[in-house]
Symmetry: C2
Subunit: 334 residues, 2 copies
């Protein structure tokens, strides 16, 4: 990550964190509900989506204060999906800490997710009151956000259904990723552009840019879930395999491996009690067979498409930063 | 229920059901997600809250088309809370059918609740596009709805926490019920008044009316959970006892029973494997000791307060219907 990008993300994070801290305060009662809701917010996170909101606003001029409220809403939304997804996927670790349901139990975790969900809307509504977000803009933003949540639900449903599906095509995988991950990237960028009164064709272009970034990001995430070291990943390596997730890598592998190798993969895929050695062996196989590299290549191709969309936007410092961001999303895999 | 009230509820239900059917269509994919989301919507429900929205609008003149969109949003919201609450409370039956998580599993049920949650906002936003709901009104409505959801989350958290709490006071119970149940009644009435451009003092009065109705409704629900017949209730009698719910009846009983009787109650309270006979014996005890009657009396006192608030509103047919509704909510226990 370039120094400039790092600094700008830090600047956005600081404002967004303080807004989220006001919206989901540490001292509010019932205590377990608010503690559970704050758990992942304070555990870390790169704040990429809030940055995408603010920088997408900055491309079209100065950043109105309201952009930070929208950015906080988007991060709360991301965080709500993490809390609920971790329950659904039975994940035990996230951002290096135990997941919300592991600490507070499933019922309180469901509720914490619901609270964060409502806080998304509260953040944007507060933007009207405190930051002069116009009624019309607020409704446009809420519309983008609501559409994104619906897509995320559909994407997560597909992701879970794929775990039980024998054969998933690359095309089906991409539809799922577009909904599960890319829709929120797209909404982030579009909302940023909207609060800066960008022309509709610019809103569309920056939305497409972010959508391609989101797809690349998810594919890279799948790659990291296999090849990253556990400490950096904040969760166990290979958990996607244990959960039977149909990642780009797994889809390619099921197609390209020899029948003997495929049998090895199928033995751990969706097998929550697979041993560390079995997982390690399958990961080596996925790397040596070129399936991991293949996924990286696909991610790069989406990065290229994202860059093409950027060229449609007004040139300048913010457009350069968005380019940095896009490159960073994919470089994480190298 | 009076014939007039019955007919007016049926008329509102019909319009609201058809809107909900458009918002959560039966043929949409991923199929399991939409089927799970529709499950409780088609299983029944009295549609009291949509009626409250529409009738609260009618008190102040003609009902704008937008009121039905808001009413649909409120019912979707109610339905989202039922889906998630049933998971948290491990309830197996609702409206006479197996609960969503029993049919589709916990992960898909969480997701169905989330989808319905987002559909709440979609319903109101659609009211702007299709029914001329003004931007300002839409944001006021969304603000009421968002505040209500936050209260519901807090109320449900308290309800769950009370299950683990030795002694809960009547006052603490009422705070919980106000959040868990009455907040949505209040929001329904306020939203109805808002879309009809009612004066702020009327919005407040009708909101207070509905809030008192909501409290009475929940106390009556607690009573029915103990004394109703199972078929009418749509779920097993005594499940509140098994789950350890601190209802008004239980709170009174823990205070008023002899130590021997209290021991009997504590043996089944929160004991999911309590036998049918043990439950039956405790229910007889709750009735014979006058605790059930006590709760009915408290419900009646809230009904009285609700009626007082009604007197602040413009007189007429709609005010009379709201009075009918309030009486019906409490009469269910007789």
């Amino acid at each position: 990550m370039s120094q400039e990008l790092f600094e700008e993300i830090a600047q956005v994070s600081s404002k967004v964190n303080s807004l989220m801290n006001r919206l989901v305060p540490p001292d509010k009662r019932p205590k377990p509900l608010y503690e559970a809701s704050r758990h992942l917010l304070v555990a870390g996170g790169k704040r990429l989506r809030p940055f995408l909101v603010v920088e997408s606003s900055r491309v079209f001029g100065n950043v109105p204060e309201a952009a930070y409220y929208v950015a906080a809403g988007i991060e709360l939304l991301h965080s709500f999906t993490l809390v609920h997804d971790d329950i659904m996927d039975q994940d035990q670790l996230r951002r290096g800490v135990p997941t919300v349901h592991v600490v507070w139990g499933v019922p309180m975790a469901i509720l914490a997710g619901d609270l964060l969900f409502a806080k998304v809307y509260e953040a944007v509504l507060l933007g009207c009151v405190e930051a002069g977000l116009s009624h019309g803009k607020a409704l446009e933003v809420l519309n983008e956000i609501t559409k994104a949540i619906l897509e995320i639900c559909e994407g997560q449903a597909l992701d879970m259904m794929f775990e039980e599906t024998e054969s998933v095509s690359e095309e089906e995988y991409l539809v799922m990723v577009e909904k599960k991950t890319a829709a929120l990237f797209k909404a982030s960028a579009r909302c940023g552009a909207l609060v800066s009164d960008a022309a509709p064709e610019y809103v569309d272009a920056i939305g497409e840019f972010a959508r391609y970034c989101g797809i690349a990001f998810q594919i890279v995430d799948d790659v990291l879930g296999v090849v990253a070291d556990e400490k950096k990943l904040g969760k166990p390596v290979g958990s996607d395999l244990r959960e039977g997730k149909r990642t780009m890598i797994v889809i390619k592998a099921l197609e390209a491996l020899s029948s003997e190798e495929r049998a090895k993969l199928l033995k751990v895929l969706g097998n929550r009690s697979a041993s560390q050695e079995e997982i390690k062996e399958v990961i080596d196989l996925l790397v040596s067979s070129g399936c991991v590299d293949y996924a990286k290549q696909v991610a790069l191709s989406f990065l290229e498409r994202a860059k093409q969309e950027l060229l449609k936007l007004p040139p300048g410092r913010s457009r350069d930063r968005l380019l940095d961001l896009a490159s960073f999303l994919v470089e994480r895999a190298y």
